[in-house]
């Protein structure tokens, strides 16, 4: 399928989804059929290191015509479309590209079984996502180097013991594939003298992964009988198998360790406490929510790397610890169904590699392990203008600092910002 045909198909998908959204809204009164629709259209700009990208648009559409067969059985068909013309501050700044266009299409189905007379929900899901990315002038939709697709299945058990408080336990398996990314080495032939250019045991689909994730999450009011705060906790462990990425040894060669090459084992834990309260200011009743969250993570990888240009072997190049902390403050006022709101958040993240070596600005390895600190501040406002419609404005700022001073191909110390303004619709 050529790029234009794909573009037409995706446009058609978006139109169909919009139609579903409209029809869903029109038949909202049905009990067994609960349409959920969320859309946004925003315009904004991205700034990096004092230069700015052109004004571009972001849009998304989330449609889920939920089918409620009975009190016990529900099915959530789900379609998600997303277009991002303005980069987010959290997006990678590799290659320094100010300009980036991303498009996502995702289709999913989640079946929910709620046994009678219990607080349990059992969920089974399957989904497929295709991500398209254009970052350079010679890339077109469907032919981006880092396009990827993801096929996922999952099961989850949730006990809503005191709505909205619950605890959940889930397992997901998903495969991420980069259809346009094959190792260059696997595509080489011979040099003019007739000798092979590639190394032995060259892999092809080096980025493709199988992922297996166990996750647990819970929330509860505290004190339970007369709540003052809400407590939230999450934990996940992800086993990531790179099916076609062999390990690099001390000589810069590949190890013969099929069927398993690189494997990563990632754990994350998050804790948060929320304190909702009310206050009166400027003659208005304000609903205020303070949240403080803490996260910690560890990625253990068996992969190394070899810097051929500097003939430097780097053991344990992908393992790291991470830590994050940050408050969130939101204020809402007016009708609870159509509130005006302001949100302010700050987040600090620290990532410390356990084996990856830092380099000075000239590329010399310093002997210290790489680290990076990121400070993210976000400010957002939402104002209702019609039923379901909100006028929104958001601004995000990110400061990053690192001991990795070699920034020839990737930025580690930088400032970036973006702003977005537009409309959201929710039904």
């Amino acid at each position: 399928m050529n790029a234009n045909a794909m573009k037409r198909r995706f446009s058609l998908n978006a139109v169909l989804a919009g139609a579903i959204c409209a029809v869903s809204a029109a038949s909202a009164s049905a009990v067994e059929y609960i349409p959920v629709c969320k859309a946004s259209l925003l315009g904004g700009q991205y700034f990096l290191k004092g230069t700015n990208a052109n004004v571009n648009a972001n849009g998304s559409l989330n449609v889920a015509p939920v089918v409620r067969f009975s009190d016990q059985w529900s099915l959530i068909p789900h379609y998600w479309f997303n277009y991002q013309g303005t980069k987010g501050v959290g997006d990678g700044v590799g290659a320094g590209t100010l300009w980036q266009q991303q498009m996502d299409h995702k289709v999913g189905f989640t079946g929910i079984f709620s046994p009678a007379a219990t607080d349990w929900k059992h969920k089974h899901s399957v989904s497929y996502r295709r991500n398209f990315m254009k970052e350079t002038l010679d890339e077109s939709w469907g032919y981006g180097l880092f396009d990827y697709d993801k096929l996922a299945v999952g099961i989850e058990a949730e006990n809503v013991y005191n709505d909205p408080f619950s605890y959940r336990l889930g397992f997901d398996a998903y495969k991420i594939g980069f259809p346009n990314y094959k190792s260059l080495e696997s595509q080489t032939g011979v040099d003019p003298a007739g000798n092979p250019l590639n190394r032995e045991l060259t892999s092809v689909d080096v980025l493709d992964t199988w992922n297996f994730q166990l996750s647990a999450a819970g929330s509860r009011p505290y004190p339970y009988e007369d709540p003052v705060v809400s407590l939230h906790a999450t934990y996940s462990v992800l086993w990531q198998v790179y099916n076609d990425q062999r390990l690099v040894n001390r000589l810069g060669q590949f190890n013969t360790n099929k069927p398993f090459g690189r494997q990563d084992f990632q754990q994350n834990i998050g804790l948060a406490v929320g304190y909702p309260t009310t206050m009166k200011m400027w003659g208005r009743d304000l609903r205020v929510s303070y949240t403080m969250g803490v996260t910690a993570g560890h990625n253990g990888s068996n992969q190394n790397s070899f810097d051929a240009a500097r003939t430097q072997f780097i053991h344990d190049a992908y393992s790291y610890y991470s830590f994050g902390v940050g408050p969130n403050w939101s204020v809402a006022w007016g009708d609870k169904k159509r509130p005006s709101s302001v949100n302010l958040s700050f987040q600090f993240n620290h990532q410390q590699y356990t084996g990856r070596l830092a380099q000075n600005s000239e590329g010399v390895y310093t002997g210290s392990n790489q680290w990076q600190d990121r400070y993210i501040a976000s400010l957002g406002q939402s104002y209702p203008i019609a039923t379901g419609f909100n006028l929104v404005a958001r601004a995000n700022f990110l400061w990053a600092a690192s001991n990795q001073a070699m920034e020839k191909t990737y930025l580690y110390t930088y400032r970036t910002a973006n702003y977005m303004m537009g409309f959201t619709y929710e039904y």
Partner: protein
């Protein structure tokens, strides 16, 4: 489906009891207007009735069109029965008062009591309340509408959904369950609760999606961090892979691969050392550019390097390599005044007080007896040993004058220096077929051609940033020495586009780290 509506007052919000009613309290019609009828329990005959009539359990009251009746319960509670409404005072337990509304509308003012419950039943509902003011209306289809005027009311249906009605709120209840709350401060209805639950599930799904997508983003960033994807000077993405192959015990091959959307280019360097390479190959490779002060332990005896776009090839080979202290070999032209010290990853300035003589800072470098440069197999340069002295004596670096023949004598290369124009075969030449530097940006063109003009080759060298912008000379401001310039260049990317008379208009386009070229001697 029979729908049971239960209205129950939130106990915590109930005020203290006020007054007593219950058993023994007299229920009577306190006021009537229009035609109001009653049907005594056990009777089948309706009779018109007026104010003051006492009602007994089982009695029914009906207000005609336009009529109205007020029922007083003797404890401060009262119910107003509206036009076309039918009302029954039912038998009830000791601490409960129950009325049945079959059709029409009633409005109730119920006294706050902790020991007495008041219930209103409709064909499809039972409403049990204390201490509140509300109205209930039943239409011919059995649907019920509840209006709250004062107080707080928890409403539940048989599906387990519950709602709180506050002052000024209204609620419709159909056979399908609770409807939407209306009025000031209305909370969520049953349908809204189900919608919120659906939204929550969709939200959880999207949260999970974000977590899973983060894995893909991380993989992409790792590629960038390793410099495997950059943007070239034309705004095209270049994928880069570099690796080293130990092809023989004493031989290695360094390979740089470039891939763009529509082309594939590569560079290779195969070097043979004076002895078998150590396990840590970097020990030998770091000595490739030469060794300062003391002889190299590992040095090249031959190399074979090339660039190709898979159709065209530029290739250079050399043999007979031997180690020479080029700063003290008596040949001034061989001297090296600045050298890349791989041990420190820096260029250093060497101390040469006596060029061409002795006493200079030693620098040991491989010099080759033979050299051959070809483009698609056509020789453009190099030298080979000559049995006898030639008419125009020439010597490659480190070798005696007159014993070698320079194969590139038919080529003339003229460098422009810092100006935008230069001489080409004795005449002023200009871009594009000339050696020159583009004004303002670090773009240098090296052009050479044979005297007869039939063969030529051209190099376009750019220094570019990670996003493909050509470096400005101002980026190198204040740098005066070549060593310092090269050192700064290491922080940038190097793009070189090679074309030649044999390529038929095609090019070899390589974007690499300059270190590769420096290390391999292609940048001096």
């Amino acid at each position: 489906m029979r729908l049971i509506l239960v209205f129950s007052l939130a106990i915590s919000l109930v005020a203290a009891p006020c007054g007593a009613a219950g058993p023994g309290a007299m229920v009577s019609l306190s006021q009537t207007s229009g035609k109001v009828f009653y049907l005594r329990a056990g009777s089948t005959v309706w009779a018109e009735v007026g104010a003051g009539h006492v009602l007994s359990p089982g009695d029914r009251v009906r207000a005609d069109a336009g009529a109205r009746a007020t029922v007083d319960f003797g404890d401060g509670s009262r119910v107003e029965v509206g036009s076309n409404a039918s009302f029954t005072l039912q038998e009830s337990p000791a601490k409960e008062t129950i009325v049945q509304l079959s059709i029409g509308r009633l409005r109730a003012w119920i006294a706050k009591r902790v020991d007495q419950k008041f219930s209103v039943r409709t064909p499809t509902a039972v409403c049990s309340v204390r201490g509140t003011e509300f109205a209930v209306e039943v239409n011919p289809q059995g649907n019920t509408r509840v209006e709250m005027f004062q107080g707080l009311l928890a409403v539940g249906d048989n599906a387990g959904n519950e709602l709180l009605l506050k002052d000024g709120q209204q609620l419709d209840v159909t056979t399908k369950g609770l409807g939407s709350l209306e009025g000031q401060g209305a909370g969520p209805s049953g349908a809204e609760l189900r919608r919120e639950a659906a939204k929550r599930e969709v939200g959880l799904e999207m949260t999970k999606e974000e977590v899973q997508a983060a894995a893909a983003l991380e993989q992409k960033n790792a590629i960038y961090q390793q410099g495997k994807a950059i943007i070239d000077v034309n705004g095209h993405r270049v994928r880069i892979e570099e690796y080293i192959v130990r092809s023989k015990p004493d031989e290695f091959k360094l390979v740089v691969l470039n891939s763009r959307a529509d082309r594939f280019d590569y560079f290779y360097y195969r070097g043979t050392f004076n002895k078998a390479l150590p396990d840590d190959i970097s020990t030998a490779l770091r000595q490739m550019p030469g060794c300062i002060d003391s002889p190299c332990d590992y040095f090249l005896t031959s190399f074979d390097t090339g660039r190709s776009n898979t159709m065209d090839t530029m290739r250079e080979t050399a043999g007979g390599g031997h180690l020479v202290d080029v700063n003290n070999n008596g040949v001034a032209q061989d001297r090296v005044t600045e050298a890349f010290d791989s041990a420190t990853d820096r260029f250093v300035i060497l101390n040469i007080p006596n060029p061409g003589g002795a006493g200079n800072q030693p620098f040991y470098q491989t010099l080759y007896n033979t050299n051959l440069l070809t483009f698609n197999g056509v020789q453009h340069g190099g030298w080979t040993p000559s049995a006898a002295a030639v008419a125009a004596p020439w010597a490659p670096p480190g070798l005696p004058l007159g014993t070698y023949t320079k194969n590139s004598t038919t080529h003339i290369t003229e460098f422009a220096g810092a100006t935008a124009t230069t001489l080409r075969q004795g005449a002023v030449c200009g871009p594009p077929n000339c050696t020159y530097k583009e004004a303002g940006v670090v773009h240098e063109v090296f052009y050479s051609e044979s005297v007869d003009g039939k063969t030529w080759d051209k190099y376009d060298n750019y220094i570019i940033s990670d996003d493909g912008k050509i470096a400005q000379w101002s980026d190198f401001a204040g740098i005066t020495g070549g060593a310092e310039y090269k050192q700064t260049m290491l922080k940038w990317n190097f793009q070189t586009i090679v074309t030649a008379s044999e390529f038929g208009g095609r090019k070899i386009d390589l974007a690499v780290e300059p270190r590769i070229f420096i290390q391999s001697g292609l940048i001096q």
